[in-house]
């Protein structure tokens, strides 16, 4: 058996690399989140499909990672058990209904949401490597009619589309510092491409401006988790503010008299950096009988980034998450008793203020975790319902139904070969 694992290990590595590469390429392709709100800034902040957490209202600052990777706090990596290797992959599918008070529209998106590995080779520290979307852009605003200035009510229509994503490739490190106190560090490399295309169409001609914006930057994170009275944990996370350097390739072209002409092409133009704010997170969890309750509070200091968009301002964002998990008995021989039942909700004040209104959202989620073996491997399913914005004025209300599928596989690795 150990020999087998050794072979597996050798076979797996190239696979993992290949997979990481392929997901990387895929996550660079167009991701329509479907949300018009994603036209602001770098899009909608990614709801990384964090297996367990997505069923618990995205709670997790104070939760451990003994069985499943927890992206919310690097300190949790210290809780990966010795010689354990966790592989985590997730997908989500979203059905979104948009409403501006007059019209309703349904959109549908399916996408990869994350890929991660976490392990603890020697029992001293846990390490993680993960790739997940940090934000997604996907909007289409079609058929905005305007009148040609100075004309006799002749109109033209504008179509704006945006797509792309910002990816987060991160390394997490967590280790115990004192008894009951784990600390962790995170290094994030953020990179991605966001494409914006605006086209203006008259009855005879078309003008199209394609902007490819490239962003990259690094960000550091710190986390701590302290367990007291055995069943209570508090967690703390800090993410450093950062400035993503940006460059832009622009192609402006027109179609007139059925001929396409490129008017202007610029590459590598420097554009304003995008600033990500300081983020603080505080969480507390308590185990009670078969339950585990968790409460998170997060604050992102967008105000101090001093950024604004064409129509919106960035404002400090507060997020409150609450979640709970129920499991009868993880070691039971009855399968149903080993199933995790999860529920949670959260409220997000939003970081955008449009028309003097915060684009806030609230959501609730339900989740199930089906054990695949006795090592901790799980198939996690969750359903979430989220409501964003409202239909006042120019705003849009979004009702989003999300189904997350997540696979978390745990195995024992790093066992020394017994036979040579």
């Amino acid at each position: 058996m150990p020999f087998m694992i050794q072979i597996k290990n050798k076979l797996l590595l190239p696979f993992i690399l290949l997979f990481a590469l392929s997901t990387n390429i895929n996550s660079q392709t167009n991701n329509l989140t479907g949300s018009p709100y994603s036209l602001f800034g770098l899009g909608i902040e990614g709801n990384s499909n964090i297996g367990k957490s997505s069923g618990m209202g995205y709670t997790g600052i104070s939760l451990d990672a003994s069985e499943e990777i927890n992206f919310l706090n690097p300190a949790s990596f210290a809780t990966i058990k010795e010689k354990k290797f966790i592989f985590d992959i997730g997908f989500y599918t979203q059905i979104e209904s948009l409403n501006n008070g007059e019209n309703n529209e349904l959109r549908h998106v399916t996408n990869f949401s994350n890929f991660a590995i976490g392990f603890n080779a020697n029992g001293k520290y846990g390490l993680g490597l993960s790739l997940l979307p940090s934000s997604n852009v996907g909007y289409t605003l079609v058929g905005i009619e305007s009148v040609i200035e100075g004309s006799n009510n002749e109109s033209y229509s504008t179509n704006i589309t945006g797509s792309g994503s910002l990816n987060d490739l991160r390394v997490d490190y967590g280790q115990p510092l004192l008894k009951n106190l784990n600390v962790g560090l995170r290094f994030s490399y953020l990179f991605g491409k966001i494409e914006e295309t605006e086209s203006v169409q008259t009855t005879t001609s078309l003008l199209a401006i394609e902007k490819d914006n490239y962003y990259s930057g690094v960000r550091f994170g710190f986390g701590a988790q302290y367990t007291f009275l055995e069943k209570n944990t508090i967690g703390l996370t800090i993410e450093s503010p950062t400035s993503l350097s940006a460059s832009r390739d622009t192609t402006t072209s027109k179609i007139t008299e059925s001929a396409l002409t490129t008017i202007e092409e610029t590459t590598n133009e420097n554009i304003a950096n995008f600033k990500l704010p300081l983020k603080l997170g505080l969480g507390i969890s308590k185990k009670y009988k078969y339950f585990n309750f968790a409460l998170d509070f997060k604050k992102s200091f967008w105000n101090s980034t001093n950024q604004s968009d064409e129509t919106g301002d960035y404002v400090d964002q507060n997020i409150i998450n609450f979640g709970t998990e129920f499991i009868k008995d993880p070691t039971s021989y009855k399968y149903w008793e080993r199933i995790n039942y999860r529920a949670g909700f959260n409220y997000d004040s939003g970081y955008l203020k449009v028309d003097d209104k915060n684009i806030s959202s609230s959501s609730f989620s339900l989740g199930l975790g089906f054990p695949l073996d006795f090592n901790g491997s799980k198939l996690n399913l969750s359903y979430g319902y989220k409501k964003t914005g409202n239909i006042d004025g120019i705003l849009i209300q979004e009702n989003i139904h999300t189904i997350n599928i997540n696979l978390s596989l745990t195995d024992l690795w790093f066992i020394k070969r017994k036979y040579n």
Partner: protein, 436 residues
């Protein structure tokens, strides 16, 4: 299931997921304020349009397939007269010695072209040339002429009927018979024949003021016909022998001389092709006349003012509206449809046709809803404007309107300039895409 198998299936799954993901095109409309659109689209119709008239030194008029004949007076373009010159010959010159001539007639088949008032009678004189139909270089021009004997062979006064079959001009028997005998007795080939009968011309009476009409040069349309008899066993059989305008690949066998007398008119200032008569010096009008060679020269001297508009922009549509002078056209003086566009250089030499990806650029006639009195040409000029915006060094080139029939017709048009009746207007749609 081993970990490896699971991973492989996940890999496949993920590929499927990613491949099946669709970028859905949406038509959700939200408020304009919601977008961060930076594009402004504006209409500009205040840039000036310069019209002037110039005259081509000469136009090739040989071998057009049309004998253009007639004369009319025009208040703006003077007296226009056009007279055809041609050689008549045959492919065979064998006529029986026993042939007896009955009569001779010149048959001219209308080709349906006419311009101006065909209700006026025309007087045609048929003359014999005293020099051969042979150009100095390879072509004849609207300015070319050949000398002819003063006294006409025949004269015909007639009411032109361009939509009927043909015009029949009787040739005096004496002249016809001499010619018939010459063919019978002294001619074996065309060279011998044209040595004697070098060619012919149709001249118009000086006082004519009516129309210009066209006759086809096809061998079965226009010919000099000899009607003769052969007597055989007391029975007469009638025959015909024809001379016609033969087609020649190298030496042209027919051409039209097209003249205009503009004395006393602003156009009389145009003595050189590179001289431009501004519309400001010709009653706020500019002129076009095919055959004679007047063209309206169009340019947009202030087009680079577009650069003064803040931000980066581009012209996405450009149309020139050109109004023919009211009452200058009617059923007798129709407007030419489908005019094509040509570039001319600073010397008014035609350089190339304006074309775009759809082919040649053509103008269209737009009629206003409230009647025939207010029509205008709509001319796509984006190609020219884009060219002017980037041209370096800037040269004084221009565009002209041009009809494919310009070397075998005498149609004229009068355009109002921008100061008269809003005659010339450049309508631009300009998109500003970068306000930085």
């Amino acid at each position: 299931m081993t970990l490896l198998r699971l991973l492989c299936s996940i890999l496949i799954c993920s590929c499927l997921f990613n491949c099946s993901q669709e970028d859905e095109v949406s038509n959700f409309i939200v408020g304009e304020e919601f977008t961060d659109s930076n594009v402004r689209v504006i209409r500009i119709d205040t840039l000036s349009v310069d019209l002037s008239t110039f005259k081509l030194d000469s136009i090739t008029t040989s071998e057009t397939g049309r004998l253009l004949f007639g004369q009319y007076n025009d208040a703006s373009l003077g007296k226009i007269s056009t007279t055809p010159y041609f050689e008549l010959s045959s492919y065979t010159y064998s006529i029986s010695d026993a042939a007896v001539l009955d009569s001779v007639a010149l048959i001219l088949n209308y080709d349906q072209y006419f311009y101006n008032d065909t209700t006026q009678l025309m007087q045609m004189r048929f003359h014999r040339l005293n020099e051969k139909v042979k150009p100095y270089d390879s072509d004849f021009y609207n300015t070319s002429t050949l000398s002819f004997y003063d006294s006409p062979i025949a004269t015909k006064t007639f009411a032109p009927r361009p939509n009927s079959d043909s015009l029949h001009v009787s040739i005096p028997f004496e002249f016809g018979n001499t010619m018939f005998d010459f063919i019978k007795d002294n001619t074996s080939d065309t060279e011998e024949f044209v040595q004697e009968y070098k060619g012919f011309t149709l001249q118009i009476d000086e006082a004519s003021d009516g129309s210009v009409i066209g006759f086809s040069t096809e061998t079965d349309s226009t010919y000099l016909r000899f009607f003769y008899r052969l007597s055989d066993d007391d029975e007469d059989t009638e025959y015909t022998y024809d001379l016609y305008i033969t087609e020649s690949s190298d030496i042209p066998k027919h051409f039209n001389r097209i003249q205009s007398d503009v004395s006393g008119l602003p156009l009389s200032n145009l003595t050189n092709q590179d001289y431009n008569l501004s519309s400001l010096d010709s009653n706020n009008e500019s002129y076009y006349q095919s055959g004679v060679g007047y063209f309206t020269r169009i340019n947009f001297p202030s087009i680079r003012k577009l650069y003064e508009i803040e931000g980066q922009g581009t012209v996405i549509d450009a149309k020139l509206r050109l109004k023919p002078k009211i009452h200058s056209y009617n059923d007798n003086l129709p407007l030419k449809d489908s005019l094509s566009l040509y570039y001319i250089d600073q010397n008014n030499s035609i350089t190339e046709q304006v074309s775009n990806s759809l082919g040649e650029v053509m103008s269209t006639i737009v009629e206003s809803v409230d009647g025939y009195d207010d029509v205008y040409y709509e001319i796509p000029v984006l190609q020219y404007i884009d060219r002017k915006l980037i041209q370096s060094p800037l040269i004084d080139d221009a565009i002209i309107l041009y009809h494919a029939d310009y070397n075998k017709s005498v149609d004229r048009m009068i355009f109002n300039d921008m100061y008269e009746n809003e005659g010339a207007k450049l309508i631009l749609t300009y998109a500003i895409y970068d306000t930085n």
